[in-house]
Subunit: 187 residues, 2 copies
DNA sequence: TTATTAAACTAATGGCATTAGTTTTTAGGT
DNA sequence: ACCTAAAAACTAATGCCATTAGTTTAATAA
């Protein structure tokens, strides 16, 4: 009835984030989103190109958000402590915002500029923190891959299976990171 | 035209695996599968309950397949060597059969008995290999979580981003595992 | 030879994304 | 105050997909 501008891209993305966190990315449909925003599905197209476009927006918001959390908790801390804090923040993010975390895993990954750039910034953040170990470039890359794998692995396996065993996940993460850095030091 | 029994569940699953490995799980649709098998979509329902049912079949086949690979390459090897072999097999599987690997990540995970059981067997396999370190139960669980996370993380991040950096992934995996076990030994 | 049944089929339904074309309101210029 | 243009909502329609209902056909077993 009313073409009064009530929506905008931001409101849309915010509503989509709620849907994602509640029901996973598969719950993010044009129909569900329209219902939540009390408009008809075609109205959404005044603000986004397509569902795929929306997913890319979500991915961008999500990865930037995640990166900002990581950077924030790392600030001012010494390397090992910073990486520990980053790791906890990473897992906490995936736990608190499962839909957003899922959004970061979008398939058309490195074709989305912001996603790629933010991924690079994550690598850079780790690189700076690992600098205290005076490793050569190649070794540093290996370790960054290792750390990112541990974080993503923990985040995924927690969401999927809860690891099936009732032992606190942060305790495991702490232990695993301790083990890993012990391995670096005594390389 | 012909109600001659031409299909069965196995043929269906095999065709679905091909679709998945070629175009990802999103390419596994009833229509695409019917086309590949040269039947009409409703005919498929004589062999599977639904698309969700098919996805669960794929997940089961995939995780069993993956586990069998892991067990096979571990057989007869000493612990560290076995875990190295398992890791390579894991990454190779995810690389060679990306659709199958994606299938293992099904959401209704621990509600599918076979998937849960096979997951438990993986844990058990690692447990036996880690026995040589004489760790207590809790520590062992931590390390198993760590190793699984590394493997899943490597598999995922390779598929998604290729890590963005042109350094051989198996070399990184080898290095990361070496670092991790170095950390265990000198715990 | 006939009856049963498995497994194919056609036809139809309903959900979803998307497009085309229409209407309504707001905002800015006269 | 009025008119025009554009933004943003709407309705209607299309096409794809999963799924169900009901029908047909051919192989098997009595």
């Amino acid at each position: 009835m009313s073409p009064i501008p009530g929506l905008n891209k931001q409101k849309l993305v915010e509503a989509a984030i709620e849907l994602a966190n509640q029901g996973g990315m598969e719950a993010v449909t044009m129909h569900a989103l329209a219902k939540k925003l009390e408009v008809r599905p075609p109205s959404l197209y005044n603000h986004i190109k397509s569902l795929e476009d929306l997913r890319q927006q979500l991915a961008s918001v999500a990865i930037i958000d995640l990166y900002n959390n990581m950077e924030k908790v790392a600030k001012g801390k010494e390397a090992l402590e910073a990486i520990s804090a980053i790791s906890k923040a990473y897992i906490a993010f995936a736990h608190k915002y499962p839909g957003l975390y899922e959004a970061t895993l979008i398939k058309s990954d490195n074709s989305i500029l912001v996603v790629k750039e933010t991924g690079d910034k994550m690598v850079q953040l780790f690189k700076e923190l690992l600098a205290v170990y005076h490793l050569d470039e190649k070794e540093t890359i290996h370790h960054i891959r290792g750390l990112r794998s541990i974080l993503h692995g923990f985040a995924t396996l927690e969401q999927k299976t809860g690891f099936g065993i009732p032992i606190n996940i942060n305790e495991s993460l702490e232990y695993v990171l301790h083990t890993y850095f012990n391995g670096i030091k005594k390389g």
